[in-house]
Symmetry: C2
Amino acid sequence: MNELHRAETPGRTDLRLVRGDRTRKAITRHAADVASLEGLSGLSIGRLATDLGLSKSGVQTLFGTKEKLQLATVEAAREAFLDEVVGPALTSPPGAERLRSLTEHWIAYASAPLFPGGCFWAASLPDFDSRPGPVRDALAQQRRDWLALLAGEFRRAVETGQIAEADAELAAFQIDAVLLGTNTALRLGDAAAADVARRVVDGFLTPG
Amino acid sequence: MNELHRAETPGRTDLRLVRGDRTRKAITRHAADVASLEGLSGLSIGRLATDLGLSKSGVQTLFGTKEKLQLATVEAAREAFLDEVVGPALTSPPGAERLRSLTEHWIAYASAPLFPGGCFWAASLPDFDSRPGPVRDALAQQRRDWLALLAGEFRRAVETGQIAEADAELAAFQIDAVLLGTNTALRLGDAAAADVARRVVDGFLTPG
């Protein structure tokens, strides 16, 4: 029986799988919220079970180890970020306009905020950058993907003559650094930081 | 008896105070190392006592509460940073040259590194920026002092015609953000990040 067929005619086992998948998603999404506030290293299966009114053994069965829970949380955070920041910005034309849209959606993501503790990676990378292993690897890969997205749009803006020639990797590094600095400033109560981020990105996107 | 007199003729009580002060310093300096790796919120009096071969009750007596230990650790980190980065850079002439020296000493501080987990504030601010209270206030004040130092030197460079007119607060925010981004990149194994930081700061310091 293939996946499609199974989706059309769910039996008892399939329903249990669907339910398990939904529970997993609810747990990891909540775990991303907690990690944004208290760090990914502090996540515990017991704490999440209590928060969500589930049995500890049930959560244990779904994830197995704390590391697997952390990896699933990192993936859940990525999906939420794609939905909230990257996806909407991809509807803007490539290049300078898309970079502006990514910046606006990023500022909204950090200000609203999507995760109660602000940017998930601003909280998780410093927590895990001294802990080698699969969780750090996953976070580092997501950071590379994000920098590559910014650099790619910047390069497109240069190639199509929207902005002056400049080093795309260097620009991406700086834009990312300023967004993370803005997240810190917002967390510390400096509401003016959002405008600082806008001014910096605008500075990068002056026509050539 | 004033402080000076006490320093000249130490009696039994004074010697105990001096010893207590030295022990306090050794504990907080080690605590700053641990916090750079595992976060300031994870510090525990028991863990520090074990690490340093002291009794838990002795450490408890010296600091009282975990929050006081955290505050003393934040202050110890500041002193170590002043010794390693700010002090040496202040021997350079004010303005552009001092900003370059601050950057070089900062890169050395993050690369060597002074604290085993890299920049103390890069680890501690994300850990505490969602936890209102005296520890977050102390970290935020140190961040403001650092940004004010960068902005002041930048302003001096503009006023003395070393570099072109530009917004000093905005430049300080960007330089700080790039240094913190460099710290993250270094922690993730990207040794080229130090040169990125140099190029960005050089870009800010082009003659006007």
